[in-house]
């Protein structure tokens, strides 16, 4: 704070020289940022290239003839739920289908990448006090903002040649490939600039991130309503994600729409720079919300503390599960005609979801993915223990009369109950989504809630693996627990498609879950999975009781 005051008192020159002084040190900060992100950004770019490449590759083989494509387009063009999710198809080429399938998602993902990058390099650094460290060096007031935006814009724009090259290699026309890359990249830039403004508003990086992601969510929603509700199509123009669609990349690229992105990004970045120039280090424009002067009456046990700490994350996950369940559920009836046009796509769903009717196969496939996601939540909730321990926040609790098992057990309870609740919620949301479009809510609710519940033991096994790793090899726990989940997810989602040997498939706990709804329910594998999860958790707790705190 004193440093800021001192800097504020410094006599300023003309506004031009002040502007330059505000940016002093930007280059150094950019190279620092790139160095810090040398894993983070390449992984993101790789995921973009990989997923768009694989979609492009599979669509080349799934929809080879114009007749197949026209029949797919006809089936989706009037289905509001599909329109809400992916927007309309513009054009009839294979490229148009790829754009329809990936453009909205990829643009939103690029937006997310931009948001995370900018907040990481601006408000996060500021909140952690790292910026104060570099700020005391010869670094200008707006340098960190400029550097964060440069890193975010640069990595986003790198998507243009990358995505264009991937598609051209797969045989798609150059102009469309370039336009798709540009639409995705420019969306990323706009949301990076949104995040830059948010980072000036709030004191906490977490709130800034949440605010920017909320803007992204609203943008998605505006576009979804604009695309699916008749008479509201003007709403598309209110959302950068809508602009991305309006570039009509593989039909006849409208390059003029690109100007909208550039103007919006520039305006937002300029606004952020103005805000940054007129505030103190560490301060935000929105006041930091004060906390409670006293703890609520129920905050009196390790379990209450675990809930107090974790409930925000759980609610976020729950919103995601409810939304995903509702969207995928309401899309369920539209998926039938879409799949009927492609034998290979149908095969894909049956391999993932089982054989009992295409609708159930689709629902089961979605629930299987939800199972993996819930396992992700459970692992994150378990690893909360690791975070509390390594950041020494476990110490004050364990130095109070609280036993180690009681402390750890309270977080494990949140993980176990939370993951089960998420799966039931996801199933319920799917049942509502499907039931309201088909009129069968009553029958779908118990079937799909039950199908969600059946995934719980597999999620618990992955949580158990994380507990065991944390208890026995705490320093390696985070990396190995996530790797284990990644491996299980890979085997579950891709294993059947690439025809892995059954012995390999059996490694993943999800393989042992009956493909519900549709398949017969067998209790034995579920009981075994629960037993395995309990044994793993007990082993981890026993290890934790015997070892030193980190």
């Amino acid at each position: 704070m004193t440093a800021v005051a001192a800097r504020a008192r410094r006599p300023g020159g003309g506004s031009a020289s002040r502007g330059r002084a505000g940016l002093a040190g930007t280059a150094a900060l950019i190279s620092l940022g790139l160095r810090r992100d040398r894993i983070f950004l390449p992984v993101w770019l790789y995921i973009f290239a990989g997923s768009i490449g694989s979609t492009g590759y599979s669509f080349r083989h799934l929809y080879t003839s114009l007749a197949e494509r026209l029949s797919l387009i006809a089936s989706v063009q009037h289905d509001p739920s599909v329109l809400a999710l992916s927007g309309p198809v513009s054009g009839t080429s294979a490229g148009s289908l790829v754009a329809w399938k990936v453009l909205v998602t990829a643009s939103a993902a690029a937006g997310l990448m931009g948001i995370l990058t900018v907040v990481r390099h601006t408000r996060d650094d500021e909140e952690q006090g790292r910026l104060e460290l570099v700020g005391a060096a010869a670094v200008g007031r707006q340098a960190s903002l400029a550097a964060g935006l440069t890193v975010a814009f640069g990595s986003s724009l790198a998507l243009i040649p990358l995505l264009a090259a991937v598609q051209v290699v797969l045989g798609y026309p150059f102009a469309g490939a370039l336009a798709l890359g540009a639409a995705v990249a420019l969306s990323g830039c706009v949301f990076a600039a949104v995040a830059a403004v948010c980072a000036q508003l709030t004191v906490s990086a977490r709130t800034a991130r949440g605010l920017a992601v909320a803007v992204l969510g609203v943008a998605f929603l505006l576009r979804a309503v604009g695309d699916s509700a008749s008479g509201a199509s003007w709403l598309r123009w209110a959302s950068p994600l809508g602009w991305a669609e309006q570039m009509q990349v593989y039909a006849s690229p409208r390059w003029s729409v690109g100007v909208l992105f550039v103007v919006a990004a520039a305006a937002l970045a300029g606004c952020a720079a103005q805000l940054a120039a007129h505030r103190d280090l560490g301060a935000g424009l929105l006041p930091a919300r004060a906390g409670r002067p006293q703890a609520a009456g129920w905050l009196r046990s390790p379990l209450a503390l675990a809930w107090r700490l974790q409930h925000g994350a759980l609610l976020g996950w729950a919103a995601g599960f409810a939304l995903a369940g509702a969207v995928f559920g309401s899309a369920a009836r539209g998926i039938g005609p879409m799949l009927n046009t492609s034998a290979q796509a149908r095969q894909m769903f049956i391999r993932l979801g089982g054989h009992s009717g295409l609708l159930d196969a689709y629902l089961a496939a979605v629930i299987a993915v939800m199972g993996v996601a819930a396992a992700g939540y459970a692992v994150a909730a378990v690893l909360w223990l690791h975070g509390e321990e390594s950041e020494r926040r476990a110490e004050p609790v364990l130095a109070a009369p609280v036993g180690r098992v009681r402390w750890a057990g309270s977080h494990l309870l949140v993980a176990a109950v939370g993951s089960a609740a998420l799966l039931v919620l996801g199933g319920l949301a799917m049942a509502l989504g499907d039931g309201l479009t088909s009129g069968g809510v009553g029958t779908q609710v118990p079937r799909l809630a039950g199908a969600g519940l059946a995934q719980v033991p597999a999620a618990w096994v992955m949580a158990g693996v994380a507990v065991a790793l944390w208890g026995l090899v705490p320093r390696a726990a985070v990396a190995t627990a996530w790797s284990a989940l990644g491996l299980a997810a890979l085997i579950t989602v891709l294993g059947p498609a690439v025809r892995l040997a059954q012995a390999v498939l059996d490694v993943s706990p999800f393989t042992h879950i009956p493909k519900l709804p549709g398949a017969p329910v067998t209790a034995t594998p579920l009981a075994w999975l629960i037993a395995v999860a309990v044994v793993l958790a007990v082993a981890g707790l026993a290890g934790f009781r015997r070892r030193d705190l980190l």
């Binding site: 909140e127 004191v203 906490s204 977490r206 930091a288 919300r289 004060a290 906390g291 409670r292 002067p293 006293q294 703890a295 609520a296 905050l299 009196r300 046990s301 390790p302 209450a304 503390l305 107090r308 700490l309 925000g312 950041e391 020494r392 926040r393 110490e395 004050p396 609790v397 364990l398 130095a399 109070a400 009369p401 609280v402 036993g403 180690r404 015997r546 070892r547 030193d548 705190l549």
Partner: protein
């Protein structure tokens, strides 16, 4: 006097690093015991062993008559702890943290809590992420001092406090002493230990190098003497027990072992004393002596 903390020959290794190497520490009931050592000398490691957060490698450690590892939970009912580097849950307010820690220990003494909040000028409604290091430390101090526990373990509790708050902290420790509670105060701030502690244990590189009442430790040390004389002194050079002798014309300065102090004064007086300054050794000097010599 019964011992509240009894540590003998304690060892602890982390990989190849030997953090504790035969450390001894005895704290009697009702005393404020200073636990002195430079950074990295093993103070925090000792305290973490005493709290049962890590397991002793060798030697013995007893806390409140029990085994700090096996009986951790029951023993913790009777103590309160302020960590050296206080990290709090960023989205909980200071007030929430204080109440939670007090309730885990059995209950909140509202009156004492409010008095301490006022004394340390701490706003309990601020979220922990916005607290400075000193304010995080105040949160931990208020939680510990309002607990009424019979033993307080304070690990460098004032390293982030400003001088006014340090004074408030000293008052609090005095109150604890008068209430008959035991305090283990680890520190590398010597004036703090000098002002507060009845007895001290000095450690270096995981080993106890000295322990006793401050008065006794002073006895081991020297008096620093500076004098201005009528003429250069005679016979000080080479006198056993006189160290760091510097004579510049009529000015003399030296360090004197207490046993030869009478002899030194006699010889100074013989040279005619114009002015004389003699100081008791500060703890800084004690420290230097203990940490500069061979181990």
């Amino acid at each position: 006097m019964t011992a509240v903390i009894e540590v003998a020959g304690l060892t602890k290794s982390f990989g190849r690093t030997r953090a504790l190497d035969g450390l001894d520490l005895t704290v009697a009931a009702g005393e404020v015991h200073g636990f002195l050592g430079p950074n990295g000398s093993g103070k925090t490691t000792t305290i973490r062993v005493l709290l049962g957060l890590i397991r002793a490698g060798g030697g013995s450690a007893r806390l409140l008559g029990g085994d700090p590892w096996a009986e951790a939970t029951t023993l913790h009912r009777r103590l309160a702890y302020v960590p050296g580097d206080v990290t709090l849950w960023p989205n909980l307010s200071g007030g929430e943290v204080i109440d939670l820690l007090a309730r885990l220990r059995g209950g909140v003494d509202e009156k004492r809590k409010l008095a301490l909040l006022e004394k340390f000028e701490l706003d309990p409604a601020t979220k922990s992420r916005s607290y400075s290091k000193g304010n995080r430390q105040k949160v931990a101090l208020v939680a510990a001092l309002s607990s009424g526990a019979e033993l307080l373990i304070l690990d460098e509790p004032t390293s982030g406090l400003d001088p006014l708050m340090e004074a408030a902290f000293r008052e609090c420790v005095d109150e604890e002493r008068q209430a008959g509670r035991t305090v283990l105060l680890s520190s590398h701030i010597l004036s703090e230990v000098e002002a507060l502690c009845d007895r001290v244990t000095i450690i270096r590189a995981g080993r106890t190098v000295d322990s006793g009442a401050l008065a006794d430790l002073r006895h081991l040390s020297r008096t620093s003497v500076r004098a201005e004389l009528d003429q250069p002194p005679d016979g000080l050079d080479g006198l056993p027990g006189v160290h760091d002798l510097e004579i510049a014309g009529n000015r003399v300065s030296c360090q004197v072992d207490d046993r030869v102090l009478p002899e030194v004064l006699r010889r100074l007086a013989a040279a005619g004393v114009r002015s004389l300054v003699s100081q008791p050794p500060t703890l800084e000097e004690l420290f230097l002596r203990h940490y500069t010599g061979p181990s």
